[in-house]
Symmetry: C2
Subunit: 139 residues, 2 copies
DNA sequence: AACAATAGTCAGGTACTCTGACTGTGTCCA
DNA sequence: TGGACACAGTCAGAGTACCTGACTATTGTT
């Protein structure tokens, strides 16, 4: 059996690649993996650049430039944060929401496969345990 | 609870970063994350560039350049593959083995923490289930 | 009002990764 | 057995991702 790192990485990478492939196949050709990683962390109310940077483990500068790219291609929009004039809120735009739907559908598909592989009960337990391991750093 | 992708990614990323930090702290300052990802896939008997490329999801060219960097810094060595004159076997060199030890120690530490978090029995079950999910693509 | 902290951007540089083109070696079969 | 094709790996060139350092504007704190 592989080491834990690989055990986590292999299914993660498979999911990530399949989701991006599905999104691309649906006509969203201008979304890169790095952009998608930032994109998926945008909260429903909108997120600040700084928070996106922290949760994706990149610098503010990198997050900022990825968000700019996402804005140019219409996946997100920026609005000034009403609570803080220094900050900008990044929100999912219309085109982004359409891409989210495609991604969600593919994820459901993959989860169904995974449930089939190890059984629904064990799959839910797996997610619960992973959640417990994730809780250290509040991403 | 996060989506499955993030549930896999968050602990994975934590482990990866902590291990690299430990290795760096042990004096191996010239190892990058991308290099480490290739490095950890080298089999005991040695691995071919092409196989390393496939298992890390990068092109042969990328794998080749990462291996060259690892060779320059003394982590790996290349030997001609006795079975195929076209191929080179990449093997862990002395310095690489020392880094592996540091990494393994840190991984044990992290696994102990994780066992403490969800219990040893559930942790082993988690790894078994992840292994089952990884088995699709024989990495 | 002065000072430190925070949100974000600009600039410059390195690392990573890709596509395309190429050399040399192995394999297969007509 | 000789030629076509497949495969291992490298070279060259280009784009993306990501970083450090320096800066502006705003906020909070004393």
């Amino acid at each position: 059996m592989f080491n834990v790192g690989l055990l986590l990485f292999i299914p993660y990478r498979e999911l990530e690649e399949r989701v991006l492939a599905a999104v691309t196949a649906a006509g969203f050709h201008d979304l890169t993996l790095a952009q998608a990683r930032v994109f998926q962390r945008i909260a429903a109310e909108g997120s600040r650049i700084t928070d996106l940077a922290a949760s994706t483990h990149v610098t503010k500068q990198t997050a900022s430039s990825l968000v700019r790219a996402l804005e140019t291609t219409g996946f997100v929009e920026r609005v000034p944060d009403p609570a803080d004039a220094r900050a900008t809120l990044v929100r999912v735009a219309e085109r982004g929401a359409a891409a989210v739907e495609v991604a969600a559908r593919e994820i459901r598909q993959i989860e169904d496969e995974w449930r089939g592989r190890i059984g629904a009960r064990r799959y839910e337990r797996l997610k619960r345990d992973l959640d417990a391991l994730s809780r250290v750093s509040p991403d």
